[in-house]
């Protein structure tokens, strides 16, 4: 996949992540420094009345980032952002997708603007946003 070949309307290769497991959340808690028990401690979540633990929003964003670095080197990522639309449950299978919405030039380099999203296996949107990637 070469980002320079993408046209407006093209989809980038979809990235499907293994189902969210408690172990994945524990490893991310350790690596990210986000030790909020709501993501790792089921005793805490039961006590707090929220049922089960759920994924860190920033973990799902990191997965979405992998879909972007799948089309261009990380050094080409200029900016991106997301809105966290809903929580991601244990067991969810996340799909990361993106579509080119614009080709433009800024600071003397060609760039792509993309709509990006992370959705679960039911099509529920978890994260939704936009990214700008330099090409060529």
């Amino acid at each position: 996949m070469n980002a320079a070949d993408l046209r407006v309307g093209d989809a980038i290769p979809e990235l499907t992540i293994d189902r969210v497991s408690r172990q994945t959340l524990a490893l991310y808690a350790g690596a990210s420094g986000d030790h909020n028990p709501i993501h790792i401690d089921t005793d805490f979540t039961r006590e707090a009345g929220v049922g089960d633990v759920f994924a860190h929003g920033m973990l799902v964003m990191a997965w979405l980032g992998r879909a972007l670095t799948g089309i261009a080197p990380q050094s080409a990522l200029r900016s991106w952002g997301v809105r966290f639309a809903s929580i991601t449950q244990v067991g969810a299978q996340i799909r990361c997708t993106g579509t080119v919405t614009e080709k433009f030039e800024q600071d003397g380099e060609p760039r792509l603007r993309l709509d990006i999203a992370a959705t679960d296996e039911h099509g529920d949107v978890k994260l939704k946003g936009e990214a700008v990637v330099a090409v060529g």
Binding site: Y28, G33, G65, Q74, L77, S79, R83
Partner: protein, 149 residues
């Protein structure tokens, strides 16, 4: 009803200094399933133009929470952390963050506003990540949401 002090708008929080280590980049890459060798193999990183292992794009956000007590900070700002949501997160990149860097993270409270008749309060925080050479590596904008009721 509003619990966040509007006078906080414009406040700059105490900077957090983070020393970025090879081990934490490898651990983070593993935790998010990133397999690009620029995160794990110094030779591959150098071949790609980095001085050392490159931090994955969202690690710069995590440097704050890896090097401080983020919950305490939120409590000091007046948040009820049991009813807190991460609403939005944005990144802009200018220079890579690599192993061996010392990154200073300075956060400014850009705005505080409410919606739904005060049922939701929003705080916009903008963080600059500057390396040991004074180079701005990234700016990050977070929208933190306080639920009431």
């Amino acid at each position: 009803m509003p619990r966040l002090d509007r006078d906080l708008i414009g406040t700059v929080l105490e900077p957090i200094v983070a020393e970025v280590e090879k081990g934490e980049i490898r651990q983070f890459a593993d935790a998010i399933g990133a397999t690009d060798p620029i995160h794990t193999d110094p030779e591959a990183a150098r071949a790609a133009g980095y001085l050392n292992l490159a931090a994955p794009p969202t690690l710069v956000f995590c440097l704050t929470q890896r090097n401080s007590e983020p919950t305490e900070r939120l409590v000091r700002l007046g948040f009820d952390v049991a009813k807190l949501l991460h609403g939005e997160q944005h990144f802009e990149y200018f220079h890579p963050v690599c192993a061996g860097d010392t990154i200073t993270l300075s956060t400014r409270i850009e705005d505080i506003y409410e919606k739904k008749g005060g049922l939701l309060e929003f705080m916009v925080q903008k963080t600059d990540a500057v390396n040991q050479d004074g180079k701005l590596c990234a700016t990050m904008t977070a929208v933190v949401v306080q639920r009431h009721g």
